[in-house]
Subunit: 139 residues, 2 copies
């Protein structure tokens, strides 16, 4: 059975999907990814779909599931490399990639994950900005 | 026709080979890679073969060709993620990956490329070490 390789680059796991995903391949990828997140302590998962000509509801659901699993394991998921035609088809099909963040390419995906982590950890260069924070922090 | 995606990460182009390479796919990959090296000015190419169960003479020759093309375009090529079984088979088949550098994983490949670049550019923390250089620099 084919297996999608997971590459570790710094604090990020990179998955490049190039093969047609079967039920079994998708489940294996989800399991492998969950194990690697726990084993490495990575806080980001980037899924590259440059090679995909089409993202149907099956692949869309797989991406959502991976994002949800990663979230529970304290890792952000970003999907990168979506082709313009794929984006158009997704919208035409009425598929919204629930809970999935996207970025143009791997580098921007890495920036997005780094920025999200900084936000989550409450890093802030200017502590006085805290007062002008979101409504959620207001009494 | 299937196309192997090329991902840019910093100064490095990353290629993850997961599909069976046909003649046409291999030629397209070589052309795409050469174009991307010129367009991006990247100085390193990392080819991940984690997904490959076997590296035959065709794939071996393709890797050598890519390394040679990259070299002419001033980029180092490192092959990473070779499985133990693949390495054993390669040796048993008498295939030597001429001119190809290898590393255990993507991160080490990046380190290797960075180190090679530093050497090539003549960076040296301690200039006095030059005298104790290799025999090749001796008269």
């Amino acid at each position: 059975m084919e297996r999608v390789p997971i590459l570790k680059i710094g604090d990020i796991l990179l998955v490049s999907i190039q093969i047609d995903m079967s039920d079994q391949t998708a489940v294996t990828l989800q399991e492998d990814l969950a194990e690697r997140i726990v084993a490495t302590g990575c806080h980001g998962v980037i899924i590259d779909i440059t090679a995909l000509d089409i993202v149907d509801s099956f692949v869309g659901r797989m991406l959502s599931t991976i994002a949800s699993i990663s979230k529970v394991l304290d890792a952000e998921t970003v999907v990168v490399g979506m082709r313009p035609a794929v984006a158009i088809t997704l919208v035409e099909l009425g598929l919204s990639l629930n809970g999935i963040r996207t970025a143009l390419n791997v580098e921007r995906g890495m920036e997005l994950i780094a920025a999200t982590r900084d936000d989550d950890l409450g890093y802030d260069d200017d502590p006085e900005d805290v007062e002008s924070g979101t409504a959620a922090t207001s009494p």
